[in-house]
Symmetry: D3
Subunit: 322 residues, 6 copies
């Protein structure tokens, strides 16, 4: 351990949550006939953090992992992307793990080894008030409160501290059916929505909180709970937003997707990067759909996240730059 | 060798034939510029056997291979799939071998090293009457009689024994131009058709036996030779069948195929699995086209064969299950 | 599911226990800098089963795994080796998993994801009396009772049934410090030793049961608890045995080991294969040390297990056979 | 060095220029997250040479490379294709190198390490008059004069010698923006065009020399400078030609391209092979578009170049030949 | 770019210099017959930085790279290790590159593409005084002054600033014959030695500065130039040191080396980590030889650097920890 | 086909024989558990040809292969090494194939698919008199006459033509037990020895021709049959020679061998290269043992063959050249 105390450096975005080791087969087929797995990492919050960083935003991620090789892997990959990492090594629980079986090119089955993982043991002490206060924006997802009671408590505590310090709170609902029931999730997420400034949700996720409805109804329903900015992510149908009372619709960028996992996180990062840069809502959504589209062009949850320079490739027709 | 004699266990389906070591390049291009080959196995009868097993049917395969590393490979991969393997090790001849050059994504060239292979030395003694009698269905293909005189003799002997014991005989014509002429094949296959209960054929294969004609003509022509169930496999155009006098047409499942090799074998397995399960002809064909479609979604002759649970993925629109 | 009931086929050796998916880095270095993992399987009982099978003994393994891709992997690899597999699919718990980090060529760190695994939920019903009665020998290890209370109960129940039916009981102490304390293990293993006919142990493992001592003391101590055959495995120092009152010492075969994991299981299989073949104790130990030595020549827990023909390579000086 | 002087063997086509080591990532994504690079070679003139050789034409390539491992790589791969290689090893400069980052499936970024490379030090002495005189056709590209002053001098000297000896001069404009400005290139290429018999150009390249215009205008403009054969390569729109005063238009072969790099070189080779074989202009263009189309079906700059036998696969509908 | 100014954070060690992309063949043999290269990074200063970080020391590295994919690779790998990276992107020059050909297991040939690289364009402005003042120790090597005049100037400027601010200056002579002559190097390195507090050198390197002599003579000669701590690295013969007037000799740890590249950098890091932790000279050297030994156990320039916990593996005899 | 007739170019060494596609597992273990095979080529005569070429000798190889992908592979790899290849494509027989299973690091099992291969159909017309007359030396091995009657006839015919034209005849006995019996071989090889100028043999091979004896006896025995130069290759014991009546003994270079296959061919090439360069017998043997030693340092039959520059690495103690 270093004997120099660097204090808490200011950051634009602070986020935390579970990032797991991610193993996947290289080509489609049964996992049982595979002999090699690619080893990487994945987690909604670090997907957003990496995408933000590639877009030029300063980000800090607080991550709790096991004191094991996979934990080192998680920490090193996030740090590699230029995200500032605040590691919490849990000597008593392993790093979470997910295995992706690409059964066919279009069907992926995910198996988790995350019950009792290190990250499920997150506690409010892991996310100290000074770190939150040193940020301009706190980003949380609806996955963390599903991990455990203490993780849920951590999210609520962090959000409350952010509000106290005037730090903007962004929330992506990110409902994961494998972790909790729709009923339980709906109730908790509704509580979180009431405390957030910016809320991202898919149609189905919004419906968990405000009941089924048309896209515009969902946005209005969420906004009615408090958040000034509500954005409904609609995949290849674009996005619908209700921002400071203004309704905006944006179309998706037409692409041939290779891997749609991570596209929602890319969208969130595109929006937040422009928000923090002081851009207007239309510009935020413009960048959001483009960032989301680009992320679909490469396999991997976050590997395809674009830099600002790379976003312009979406407009290029020349396949080779030389 | 074990000193415990397990006797001949009953099985639902008995099959036999040549399964070869299969080497293929991973990505398209000339074989001459490749540096690595993927090592697997392939054979029409074991393709069917594996597909049947994944669909839940009990299958036994009698396989003659060389007493060498590639023979061990063949045996271990078939056994790995849960097919019961009755190995015959030939100390005097090598295991057959096929090499697949994917010259482009759409053009594959196959080179065989199967002349004088162990499997071409199959003899009637290799397929004893007790094993046939212990099965409900015997499945043979038109490849085996093309391998050698003794292999041909083995097929006819097995079919005769099956008929004697009231075991259903299924036959897939499977004409291979590299092994014998259309004339020679037509004559032999016609003889086999007269002895079969269930016959599968492509349009061209049926024409070898009954002469050119419309799809319905071909089916009628084959049925006139004896088999109560005749199914014309028509690839992405579906299938036409004449079953116990009833005409049925079924459309293919629309997919983007990755590798169509093995699709015909999958179709056969889908049909036979439902036939053995007592399902009606429409249900048999429904499962047959779906099994065939699924097999096209993954590279490899048999790796893509689906389980019953996986068949439902064809109806799913959610790319990731988590 | 097949509608044919095959009954319980007789087998020479019956064994059961946890076999896990095993992921390992291909070359030495930190796991955190690796990008690919080789996917295989490993478990002490299947290591023994596979080695026995390669030596020509008929073996049946009862395995409880998760109803997931890694469970399919475990079942297919064991079946591939010709071991008869009796699968028990647990829909409520995942397949156990181990990750091997080869930090240097000489130092390996293993991380387990096996707490609450499917195999830890083994119950006495999983190992029915008919299966035990149909065997000549039951092989158990000291790992299974460390997995859970129900797994422990299963081992004791199976051993008791074997004794009732006159089935020989073989036990490898296999102490795993990651699973339970030396105290707890010592007590349970002592109980098992009293019920076994053949006991295998390393020096340290024997000491857990009978207290520290010279090699001969340890063997005598174990034999005093009941077993007619006690074999102390001593790695590159060979083995010491007390068999039906006779003391035997055998030297190890001098080799340059590549991977010593699995060598103890190979030793056990070599001994048991000869015991079942009716060979005398000296012959059993001769084959045991040779099988153990051979297994060290190849990376992997079981991949290096030799056939009887391959054992003779230990005497060959010609590197290439052509 | 051999002590036998083989003299200067006659050849059909002589060509020279820079061929570099080429490293590329296997799958799309940032270079920064890649861990393996495929090592190959690439250069416009050897692409043409290899394509010509596969079509059956005798070709000689004069190549200047560094006296290093990558230089050996370049020489061995060109020689492997049956092209006669005249190596010039430069002990004072390294072999040129290019790195291809496939950022997405549709966007490739190329980085060069070719400034001061061995090939940029080409001098007129490297291309002796006897070698030129021993050929029927000299092929040069607009890349070489962009490498350095001495390389430019070498091209002009070689072209002049060819004209003196009645050797046909073929020129592919091949403008590379990374090497020189449009202005500088336009001037030099215009000079070369006036000296060539056969000129190939893309629309944009032709415009550099004769100013913007319709396709037919461009061809007429180039022809007005001297060459009897002018061919405008138009990618998936086919080609337009003005040959001995005759206008010809040919459509492209419809394909799904995998990698379009090298397609232009394939087109050139298809044209030249037929020209040397005495075929008429329509046949030359027919083969040119087919060779270009085939080259797009496989990844790699030259790996996909077809043999004459393989060209017929474009007409085949049977995916597997067996 | 982030709009939050984080200021200059204090660091224990500051270092700078050229880190290149590093491509190497996986197995021994000619580069010309290889088809894949492993892509990594390497540089003496980042080797030391990474080793220091793994030992728990806080380190900052200032790196100048090209604005290209390989530059991103260099930055991401150093950041991945937890070293704080201060990137300087040079839009006008490429990232340096080195290629390692393992001709045999014992003979490696390195080819460089580093002339005119981005790092050779380092200038004093790249290493601002505030960053130096914020460190406890500045580490430089004799490689940087060999890159270019401006790089040399940068080293001297940085060293002078460090001395002004009381920051300890550590210097590893690191003579590279490919970059400059022994005469030129001797003169410049001598100047640097006079300005350093801690000097590391191999026997041959020390001789460049003070003339040939016995090990003790070399140390005395260097110490006479000013540095209070002089350490002669002697590879598998250990080390000799003259520290504050005290002579110390330490033996190497006996190991079977896999790759000795990076061992000298590991040694330096081991020494400096303990120096900064306030340990006495004997302890520093003890850790230095152990860190150096460990680094030899794994392939790669820095991949094998140990953590403090891993250093204890050198004393372990148990190959598997589970 | 080219319409330019290049005539028969003079060459220093002419050789011919069977070169096969060679597939091998990358790491030791059963072939049956491997999933990838490395694809290369191998044949005694091309091993010698490649080694000669790397040492700077001009060589031509006449090779008969199948008109298939593996035949193209053989031709391209030999041509890649700078050997002039005279291809004979046999449309009626496949290219020979060998599979190497590295069962352990020290035990390799080879399986051949070469019966009825294209090369076994070599005929005297394949080796025309003009080609032989254009060479200084003809190199044949004892493998070719074992392939078939026509291949045997080809060897004798070629040797006779060489003698007529004053071309030196070199012969490596190369007995292959898998191809013919010792008796049959002994008789044929004796006939060949009487016609050769230079004979290479291992102890055992020499004994086939002249009966068992001490090394010196064997050399005398062979020399008594006619050849002026007899060299007994003794592996790691060096070599014994009887050259123009002079006895010479040379020791082997001490190395740690990685793969000894091809070492004998390297030895032959080292000797012949120096013989053709006019060096004296001692120098020939000196280079022979060094070339043989170097070839053992790299895996592969010919990949490790050294250039003259690389031979000096055997004297280097510095592992890294940079």
């Amino acid at each position: 351990m270093s004997r120099i105390d660097a204090g808490i450096a200011p950051t634009e975005v602070l986020t935390f949550g579970e990032t797991m080791a991610l193993m996947r087969t290289d080509s489609p087929g049964p996992l049982a006939t595979a002999h090699q797995l690619a080893l990487g990492i994945g987690g909604a919050e670090t997907n957003v953090a990496i995408a933000l960083r590639r877009l030029g935003t300063d980000v800090t991620w607080i991550g709790r992992v096991g004191d094991d090789g996979l934990g080192e892997k998680v920490l090193r990959e996030v740090a590699a992307e230029g995200v500032r990492v605040v590691p919490i090594l849990d000597p008593h629980a392993p790093t979470g793990l997910m295995i992706k079986e690409r059964r066919t090119g279009d069907h992926t089955r995910v198996t988790y080894y995350r019950a009792s993982s290190a990250a499920s043991r997150l506690t409010p002490e892991d996310v100290p008030a000074e770190r939150i206060a040193a940020a301009r924006l706190l980003h949380v997802t609806g996955i963390t409160p599903a991990l455990s009671a203490s993780a849920r408590e951590t999210v609520f505590a962090a959000v409350d501290i952010a509000r106290e310090h005037g730090v903007t709170v962004a929330l992506d609902l990110n409902y994961r059916a494998a972790l909790w029931s729709a009923e339980e999730a709906g109730e908790v997420l509704r509580e979180l929505v009431t405390r957030a400034d910016i809320v991202f949700a898919g149609d189905d996720e919004a419906a968990l909180v405000v009941g089924t409805g048309e896209c515009a109804d969902l946005a209005r329903g969420l906004a009615a709970l408090g958040p000034a900015q509500v954005i409904i992510k609609r995949g290849d149908k674009g996005a619908h937003a209700l921002i400071e009372g203004e309704v905006l619709d944006v179309e998706a960028v037409p692409i041939r997707p290779v891997d749609t996992v991570g596209a929602g996180d890319a969208f969130v990062a595109g929006y937040l990067a422009e928000y923090l840069a002081g851009e207007d809502p239309a510009r935020r959504l413009h960048t959001a759909v483009r960032t989301g589209a680009f992320a679909c062009l490469v396999a991997g949850d976050w590997e395809g996240m674009p830099t600002r320079r790379e976003l312009s490739l979406l407009d290029s027709t020349d396949p080779v730059q030389r």
